[in-house]
């Protein structure tokens, strides 16, 4: 099946700093989503971005499908941004629609 690798696995920032999280995937995709898992374990959908660029406030994401990667940018980070960020992809091959998750990036923002 499709492989999803996220980097870095851990990231520690001071409040106000910017960061870039990366997601590489091994095959063509028709779905790519970024999630933030909060301290209560809830998966908060950030972006549905199988290709192109989107922005939502301090967060933006870019997916270059032809090169099989996606980037999540967090600007002016806040302590509430802490948590695990997951990239999840849906492979184009076959009829399956489920997502395959990466291992996540654990982000800690220090005050």
């Amino acid at each position: 099946g499709i492989q999803v690798e996220q980097s870095p696995p851990d990231l520690i920032l001071q409040e106000g700093a910017n960061s870039t999280l990366r997601c590489n995937f091994s095959d063509s995709v028709n779905n790519l989503q970024w999630f933030h898992q909060n301290p209560w374990g809830q998966l908060i959908n950030l972006f549905y971005i199988p290709s192109g660029t989107k922005q939502n406030g301090r967060l933006s994401a870019t997916t270059v499908a032809t090169e099989r990667y996606s980037l999540l940018y967090i600007s002016s980070s806040q302590t509430t941004d802490s948590g695990v960020y997951f990239c999840a992809v849906g492979a184009s091959s076959g009829s399956a629609r489920q997502l395959t998750f990466g291992s996540g990036t654990q982000l800690t923002v220090l005050p």
């Binding site: 998966l43 629609r97 997502l99 998750f101």
Partner: protein
């Protein structure tokens, strides 16, 4: 905005007991999913469901697991005889029918097997 709702939010059960986790997907969605996340690990796919039957399932989804859509709104995951290693967060998700669309996740049910 429509949401996927899951109940209960927490469930504690004894080893060997049956549990049923419940989900109400978004009303006009056609595809339904269950995922699980063991503490500290990544989110893993269990099963997808479409047109009243399982469309895909993972190796994790063995004979101890079953899914059902008993009526027009609920989607359930049953674990027949729970084991300690079934302790995890279980997420339900749904997605729309035309073309490819995002999956919408519920807030999860945290299952603890003692």
């Amino acid at each position: 905005e429509p949401e996927v709702t899951q109940t209960p939010s927490h469930q504690v059960t004894q080893m060997g007991q049956e549990v049923i986790l419940r989900c109400v997907p978004i009303s006009n969605h056609l595809y339904f999913y269950w995922y699980r996340q063991i503490l500290g690990q990544k989110v893993e796919f269990l099963v997808s469901f479409y047109n009243n039957e399982i469309s895909e399932k993972s190796e994790i989804f063995d004979d101890q697991f079953s899914v059902e859509r008993p009526d027009g709104s609920n989607f359930t995951l049953k674990i027949r005889s729970t084991k300690l290693e079934d302790s995890a967060m279980y997420f339900c998700a749904s997605s729309g029918g035309v073309g490819h669309s995002p999956l919408h996740f519920g807030n999860g049910t945290r299952l603890t097997v003692t």
